[in-house]
């Protein structure tokens, strides 16, 4: 009688395209998680040697320290314009941007909207943590009403500051957008869903479907001045009600007139 061999297999390991470099991000920051998910999407889609990333400015700028791919560092807000330039030169390469909320929705709003409107076949990874992280926690277009930040010390007020902008819903209204989704990665269940969505966004580009956009709700424990567990709860209890998760647009054919 043969005794069945029992061996242990590694069921969770580091994606190949992620360099063996430790993340400098704050404890509980979901930039690390998002980098991981983007790396897994690149690995599993087998596109590492033809992917070009464009890093925005903010905590997102260090993309090139972590992903072993060609990367361009863009001026603040302009990553979508750079991505357009690169994709128009190399339509066969996979081009994505990695930007924060101040970068993409404030200074970069025009470039973001027009890149989506032209239907540029690029993928935008948008990390939304309701404020400017790198510079110390100032109000961003995504800061929630009543939220106190270093430049809204009395809380964001509609009169004077306006409402927070829902980028996913807005971009989904444009014909040029092929895939627009919002996810979070504050719980394991959300992380697993987010990974599928990010992989789908890259798949849309691989299939030349047009502009793909994934907004990822993230905690910022340092600038929210709460611990990572409380920050993860804040994403669920305060961010998700205003920024609902879901797929807002998913084109199924490449014809869209």
């Amino acid at each position: 009688m043969t005794v069945p061999e029992i061996t242990m297999e590694e069921v969770y390991s580091r994606p190949k395209v992620l360099k063996d470099v430790d993340f400098h991000f704050c404890p509980g920051c979901q930039h690390g998680t998002t980098h991981k998910l983007v790396a897994e999407a690149i690995d599993e889609s087998k596109i590492q040697d033809r992917t070009i990333g464009v890093a925005g400015v903010g905590c997102c700028v260090f993309l090139y320290n972590y992903l072993d791919i060609d990367v361009l560092e863009a001026p603040h807000g302009r990553a979508c314009a750079e991505a357009t330039g690169i994709k128009r030169v190399h339509p066969d390469k996979i081009v994505f941007t990695y930007q924060g909320d101040g970068d993409l929705a404030a200074i970069g709003m025009a470039e973001t909207v027009h890149t989506a409107n032209r239907g540029e076949n690029v993928t935008v990874i948008f990390v939304n943590n309701t404020l400017y992280g790198m510079t110390g926690g100032q109000m961003a277009p995504t800061t929630l009403l009543g939220q106190k930040t270093t430049t809204s010390p009395y809380g964001r007020n509609f009169k004077g500051d306006g409402y927070p902008i829902r980028m996913s819903e807005m971009l989904a209204t444009l014909e040029g957008s092929a895939f627009v989704a919002r996810v979070a990665c504050n719980t394991p269940a959300n992380v697993i869903k987010a990974k599928k969505v990010i992989k789908k966004a890259f798949k849309m580009q691989i299939e030349n479907m047009g502009f793909s956009f994934v907004e990822i709700l993230s905690a910022c424990p340092t600038n929210w001045k709460i611990d990572p567990v409380a920050a993860s709860r804040k994403v669920s209890e305060e961010m998700i009600p205003y920024f609902p998760l879901g797929i807002f647009k998913e084109r199924t054919t490449a014809d869209y007139l």
Partner: protein, 76 residues
């Protein structure tokens, strides 16, 4: 032989504790007796009864890729 277990790279842990609240079996806790070179009290895996199922929730949520997960693979 346990059905599954995890390995934590304690020297890279930033003590964010998201894994602690994510484990359905409550098998992770913050260590109380040492600080790692980064200055954080890292988390540790404590599974005396072999309850870990290898669900990977801890590894999925860890922002710093500190956790590797191993599961039993039966072969003939």
């Amino acid at each position: 032989m346990p059905k599954a277990y995890i390995k934590i790279r304690q020297e890279k842990c930033k003590s964010c504790s998201l894994c602690i609240i994510s484990c359905p079996q409550n098998l992770i806790r913050m260590s109380i007796d040492h600080i790692n070179p980064l200055g954080y009290a890292p988390v540790e895996f404590v599974d005396p009864d072999g309850e870990c199922k290898g669900c990977k929730m801890c590894a999925e949520i860890c922002p710093d890729l500190c956790i590797l997960v191993y599961r039993e693979k039966k072969m003939k």
